[in-house]
């Protein structure tokens, strides 16, 4: 299986992130006002719930008829003059695009904001093939200059302060230091404008693909997607197969909920419709449009009736913004292109390997389900994936931890028995508290010897002590 995400241990990475006070400050700074804004925009739109229900219904229908819709989409795209390539995995998609770049002699590549091309590790492949690849979404441009990966689906540089970005531009471009977002944006505009005009190949993702007409819909605020799909002579759109929707008339339901949930806007600045290459005499648009339909684990998700729902995702990023785990540790600790709650349910199928731990990186609080514009039941899917992981009954090619699972089950059964007897709880609890005390350090128990080490691996306990009021109450009752 293709694996483009650097594999890392989530526990170690998240522990480091939790202790990074600076990172937490940046994340809180960015997300606090944002959530209020999103809530207000939704509240002032009375049809929100109806539109949301409609969006979910259409996605559900589209996923159930995915085979048919993809056939129709391919026919229409080809009738419009596009070329369609079906990639079963990341390597096939990369190779197709690299070969295309070679064939067209394209050396200068501009990219609009796209998570799908991140997913397949396209940049590295194009750079290896001798292309110069420039990310043109401001956030992506910044993380590319830093040699990093995006830490959020829609705001890739959310882990950086304006001072970080000021220093970065100062060093990379030899310009006087400024931390003013307006000035920094102006610098990027100027540099990227020339890049756009000189580019041979433009690459973007796809938000919606309309089967009825063979139309690709690209949604964005900056104009990077519009530039990438308008200026270069060759344009490649990389779409996950789940992006197809049946009809043009379906689109408004999605657009009415997507920006409201993602950024708190009523509509994003640009909604671009691309149905094919430019026609005779036209100035805008490429001579060639290629559409790469990417499976890369998605049909595996489709085959699982519970996990199937994860394919409804519009990649709005809202579940990241509300997630108590994401808000503490940021995106990088997840070690996946797709962080946060949605990342935890899609990454194991897309990437395998260490991402199989991600379904455990949740408190199951349900905030993600509440905010989701298509109401994906993420907690249910998380539990399902945990079950598959520990029971080993699933089709996911991931490493299993049978010993840890056995121990956990034994421990929980023992707890269930003890919990039936109040006296046993008190006695064993006291003994446990006394036994834990020697392991305490700075008020917390962070490590315990086996078999309890599995429990403390991801949990820090406050030093156990009898609650004073509780103790007094008991003394009172005894007297």
């Amino acid at each position: 299986m293709a694996n483009e995400t650097e594999q890392q241990d989530f526990l170690a990475a998240s522990e480091a992130a939790v202790r990074d006070a600076e990172l937490r400050r940046k994340l809180e700074n960015a997300s606090g006002r944002h959530l209020e804004h999103v809530a207000a925009t939704r509240a002032e739109f009375p049809a929100y719930d109806d539109e949301r229900a409609a969006a979910r219904r259409i996605k559900q229908e589209a996923i159930e008829r995915l085979d048919e819709l993809l056939v129709q989409l391919k026919e229409r795209l080809e009738a419009n003059g596009c070329r369609v390539f079906a990639a079963s995995d990341a390597a096939e998609a990369r190779n197709y695009i690299v070969e295309l770049a070679r064939g067209r002699g394209a050396r200068r590549v501009v990219k609009g904001k796209s998570m799908t091309t991140e997913e397949i590790g396209l940049n590295a492949a194009l750079i290896d093939a001798g292309c110069e690849v420039v990310e043109t979404d401001l956030g992506e441009y910044i993380v590319q200059l830093r040699g990093e990966r995006p830490s959020h689906i829609i705001t890739p540089a959310i882990h950086l302060s304006k001072e970080d970005i000021g220093s970065l531009f100062h060093e990379k471009f030899q310009i006087p230091y400024t931390a003013e977002p307006e000035a920094l944006t102006a610098v990027a505009r100027e540099r990227l404008r020339e890049t756009f005009l000189a580019a041979d190949l433009g690459i973007t993702g796809v938000n919606f693909a309309i089967a009825e007409t063979g139309t690709l819909v690209l949604i964005e605020n900056e104009g990077n997607g519009r530039m990438s799909s308008t200026l270069p002579e060759t344009f490649v759109a990389v779409m996950g197969i789940e992006k197809v929707i049946p009809k043009m008339a379906d689109l408004s339901h999605f657009l009415e909920v997507l920006a409201r949930t993602a950024t708190g806007q009523k509509l994003t600045t640009y909604t671009n419709f691309v149905s094919g290459p430019r026609r005779e005499g036209e100035i805008d648009g490429p001579r060639e449009v290629h559409v790469v339909m990417l499976d890369n684990g998605r049909s595996r998700m489709l085959a699982d009736p519970v996990l199937r729902e994860a394919l409804y995702c519009l990649r709005c990023g809202a579940c990241l913004n509300v997630c108590p785990v994401y808000r503490r540790i940021g995106g990088h600790a997840y070690g996946s292109t797709y962080p946060g709650p949605i990342g935890s349910i899609v990454s194991p199928s897309l990437f395998g390997g260490a991402t199989a731990q991600l379904p455990f990186a949740s408190t199951l609080c349900g905030a993600c389900r509440e905010i989701c514009p298509v109401k994906i039941d993420i907690p249910r899917i998380l539990l399902h994936l945990r079950w598959k992981e520990t029971e080993g009954g699933g089709a996911l090619p991931v490493p299993r931890w049978p010993r840890a699972a056995r121990q956990a089950r034994f421990g929980l059964r023992a707890f269930a028995r003890i919990a039936r007897h109040p006296l046993a709880v008190r006695v064993i609890g006291r003994i446990g508290a006394v036994l834990m005390r020697p392991f305490a350090w700075h008020g917390y128990v962070r490590r315990m010897p086996p078999p309890f080490s599995n429990w403390t691996r991801a949990r820090d306990f406050p030093v156990p002590r009898m609650h004073k009021r509780l103790a007094r109450a008991r003394r009172g009752a005894g007297a």
């Binding site: 944002h34 705001t155 944006t185 009825e212 990077n224 519009r226 671009n272 005499g281 036209e282 805008d284």
Partner: protein, 231 residues
């Protein structure tokens, strides 16, 4: 029957008439259905409000003559030296071009390009222009959105490359919401043209979620609604 009883009887009699439901004050029911004109005014004012919310500037509802004059004013205020102008949708661009030229502004009328070299040259020219003037196919009142439908002589780049845009829309092409706009454009048109829905100037919130205008697309967007006198 006393005077008082008479009065009460009269009041009771009046209350018997329960033809129309009681007015709860929540929704004013007008004595007459709103006229086409007042409905249009409402849509246009909603459009203007929403456009300003997303950082655009609303120039108001103008006659064609006023439109040309107002566009020239804006061009002068931004000290434009070159402007590009595309074909109209339902308005004649000639008076606009004349208005700009009278100020000494060089006006580039976009036209079809034959070969890739000519195309690249036009794109570079558009990118160097101080101002792009275009007409939208329709506008959305609920969101302050413009629907730009590109043709050979009305390129989409006109509303993408210049740093300042002035867009005009005919008043009868302002519709209530997104669904109505997609219906007005028509599935066929969308599937056979490059279409962009534009809601305000290009923007980003990528640096600490602070909103900055003018990343890749225009920094400033002015919109005038054209109302013909004979309407």
């Amino acid at each position: 029957m006393s005077q008082f009883d008479k009065l009460i009887a009269s009041v009771r009699g009046a209350l018997e008439h329960r033809g129309a439901p009681a007015h709860d004050g929540a929704e004013a029911s007008p004595a007459m259905p709103p006229s086409e004109a007042s409905r249009r005014v409402e849509l246009v004012s909603s459009f203007g409000r929403e456009l300003e919310v997303v950082g655009g500037r609303f120039l108001g509802m103008l006659t064609p003559k006023e439109t040309a004059a107002r566009i020239a004013e804006v061009a002068a205020s931004i000290k434009a030296r070159t402007a590009s102008l595309g074909d109209g949708v339902s308005n004649d661009p000639a008076p606009i071009a004349a208005g700009l030229e009278s100020l000494g502004i060089k006006v580039i009328r976009t036209a079809a390009a034959g070969d890739p070299e000519a195309r690249a040259a036009i794109l570079r020219e558009l990118a160097r222009c101080d101002l792009g003037v275009a007409e939208a196919a329709c506008a959305i009142a609920a969101t302050g959105t413009l629907a730009i439908v590109a043709t050979a002589a009305r390129p989409s780049s006109l509303t993408l490359l210049p740093p300042v845009n002035i867009v005009i829309v005919s008043a009868e092409r302002v519709v209530a919401d997104l669904a109505a706009a997609l219906a007005m454009l028509g599935t066929e048109t969308i599937a056979s043209h490059r279409v962009a829905l534009v809601t305000g100037p290009s923007r980003t919130a990528d640096i600490e979620k602070r909103i900055v205008l003018g990343v890749h697309g225009p920094r400033e967007l002015y919109v005038a609604i054209v109302w013909r006198a004979d309407d």
